[in-house]
Amino acid sequence: MPYPYKKIEQADIDYIRAATAADRVWVGEEIANEYYRDEMPEYGVFPPELYVEVINKEEVSAVMKYAWDNNIPVVCRGAGTGLAGGATCKYGGIMMSVMRMNRIFPVDHKNQTITAEPGAYLVDVQAAAAAEGLFYPPDPGEKTASIGGNVITNAGGMKAVRYGLTRDFVRCIEAVLPDGSIMNFSSNVVKNTTGYSVKDLIIGSEGTLCVLTQVTLKLLPAPTCTCTLVMPFNSLEECADMVPKVLELPFVPTAIEFLERELIDIVERNLNKMFPVKEGNAVLIVMYDASSQQELDSAVEAAAEAALANGALDCFLADTPERAGTVWAVRGGILEGMKADSVAQEECDVVVPRSRIAEYVKAAKKIALSHGIRVEPCGHCGDGNIHTEMLRGPEMSDEEWKSATHASLTELYALSKELGGQLSGEHGIGNGRLEFLEEFVGPRMIQLYKAIKLAFDEKLILNPGKVVEFNKPAAE
């Protein structure tokens, strides 16, 4: 068993410094607090013993090999924008940042792909593709995320309805295994039935199986026209009921999101970003991409007519980049707005079949309210991934908040399961949702997860205590 892990000593520090560079290694108190946690400190704050910024796969391999030989836990860190408490040193050890490995290679036009190192920012990858007239569709709300982080967590985002998830765009991966070996998973080919699809298993493994050192991503021709529709409704229920109606139309939307007026008010009040539609207690935001204006006009007209036929008060058309920008800026400001408007947040990231969205949304609000929590459901209702945001008011004690959120989450996950959903749609398990996982997927599935983890990392040194938890260390 790996526990207890070896504590880092001077000899370890010296070795890592020699294998990388002295000015890229920080130890103990020198390590900035931001590396103790991700975007959700609620899911754990853990100081690393050593923090190193690596610059190439050879360094990654050297650090991993040393850690493997010496039984030191390692956590790979990208931009730290995760929402599951995933990129944290739960058992101390080494935090290895790949943010200096941020090269983006020229677009490969013949293969329609782009290759990047894991530390490249998602926005920069998107921009590099766009500069060549191509399009990298995955578009999670967090634009300052790293591409490596996106791949290793299988990031989703708003455009999943039409284009799918990050996994759908990863052609091949170069990665370092926990023992330090450098491996390639698949290659720049369109199809591949060679053995198990390990590449697809790595994507979404939350940094527990290997460390990415390079990813090659599929690109699409950029859509030439786009329009965002805002459909105001009197109630959230009507809004949710509209989702399947939009999906029934013969046009595939790029994104479907909903927002309640209360949430819009929070963003307007705290971030001074004004929403261009004042009507309605809840709004459904539907985006269409098309390759011709005619196709776009047909989609917009069909969706607007369907909205009006189903109780929408009107349908507003954000048909220019500026107009769409005012809509999406408010949607994109939700997390920041809620952080400014509450003492703490807890989030439920379930995904339910699209046919059950309305049922989930209606019931979720009641559940959280029954435990005395302010709740704001919002999210990607086009793919059934509803973010149920729970907000802590200043009047709640630590104990009250903890027990109320725990009780709410337990019920919400049970509800999701009952509706045929899953525990997490896109934020992952990390550390934050670990306690609910076994109950949700069952013991046989956990056994499979453990077997997979051991196949890659029998010493349990890579991001231990995330997604799967083996025996707890005696100290706990």
């Binding site: 900035a32 004004m274 009006l308 009107d314 507003f316 058309l317 220019t320 500026e322 005012t326 809509v327």
Partner: protein, 262 residues
């Protein structure tokens, strides 16, 4: 209350074709869009109408293709739309443009309040609005950043004028030009778009102008001689700061200070 909003269709983006012979912008080429500043003007007008009642008329000078922009204004809630279009108006500078627009406003029976965007993204002079007011002998406030109050007799506005903010109460009739960020313009409504699909956009020409002196309009009425016109080079650049948080902060402070931003 009668509000007139002046709008202009401008080239979309920075890719502008210049006629090498005349140095003038080729308006028919490429994609067009509503001058973004004018949408703030229209929103300001529509919000005032909700408060005080009345009508909002949008007015533009340009080719008949401007109808697309005017239909869009209908879908945002404008009551009436007029395009001032005539070959005799072509090639107009600030003086001739503002004169023609002031004449058109007279034809429309004048207005209590005229609202323009602060400037256009193609001409960039920010002078047409104030010049209309001068031709009409009415007071104006340019670069209005906030409407503080308005009723059926006067409007109270705050202007941000580089180093000072000025609050003014101006009785009607008057003209204001509004800054971007004064509001978030509403989106066009599908319902209004359908309702106004058959609603005509009025076209007005030289023959409708009260002043029939041709030397006041178009190229003839424009004392401005354009020597050369070109699209400015794109100057957006990215600087990446490396180092520790302290080093980066220090470096950022140094750059911003050198550029006199702080």
């Amino acid at each position: 209350m009668k509000i007139v909003v002046c709008m202009k269709q401008v080239p979309a983006g920075t890719k502008v074709d210049i006629d090498p012979e005349t140095g003038a912008m080729k308006r028919m080429s490429g994609d067009t869009r509503t001058n973004p500043y004018d949408l703030f003007a229209l929103e300001t007008a529509l919000a005032l109408r909700e408060k005080t009642g009345g009508t909002v008329t949008v007015l533009t000078m340009g080719p008949p293709q401007a109808e697309t922009m005017m239909k869009d204004a209908y879908a945002m809630g404008a009551d009436d739309a007029v395009i001032l279009s005539d070959r005799k108006f072509a090639g107009a500078d600030v003086l001739a443009t503002s004169y023609a627009l002031s004449q058109a406003i007279h034809v429309l029976g004048d207005a209590d309040l005229i609202i323009c965007g602060r400037q256009t993204t193609d001409g960039d002079t920010a002078q047409v609005g104030p010049a209309i007011a001068e031709h009409m002998h009415i007071p104006h406030a340019a670069w209005v950043a906030e409407i503080l109050d308005a009723d059926n007799t006067a409007i109270r506005v705050r202007q941000d004028l580089v180093s000072v903010s000025q609050v003014s109460e101006i009785p009607y009739p008057c003209l204001i030009t509004v800054d971007k960020d004064i509001c978030v313009p509403r989106l066009p409504s599908y319902l209004l778009k359908k309702q106004t699909a058959g609603k005509p956009v009025r076209i007005m020409g030289f023959s409708n102008m009260p002043d029939q002196d041709l030397s006041r309009y178009g190229l003839v009425g424009s004392p401005t001689a354009v020597e050369r016109m070109f699209a400015p080079p794109e100057i957006e650049k990215q600087v990446r700061l490396e180092g520790s948080a302290d080093e980066k902060t220090e470096r950022l402070f140094e750059i911003l200070t050198r550029k006199k931003i702080i």
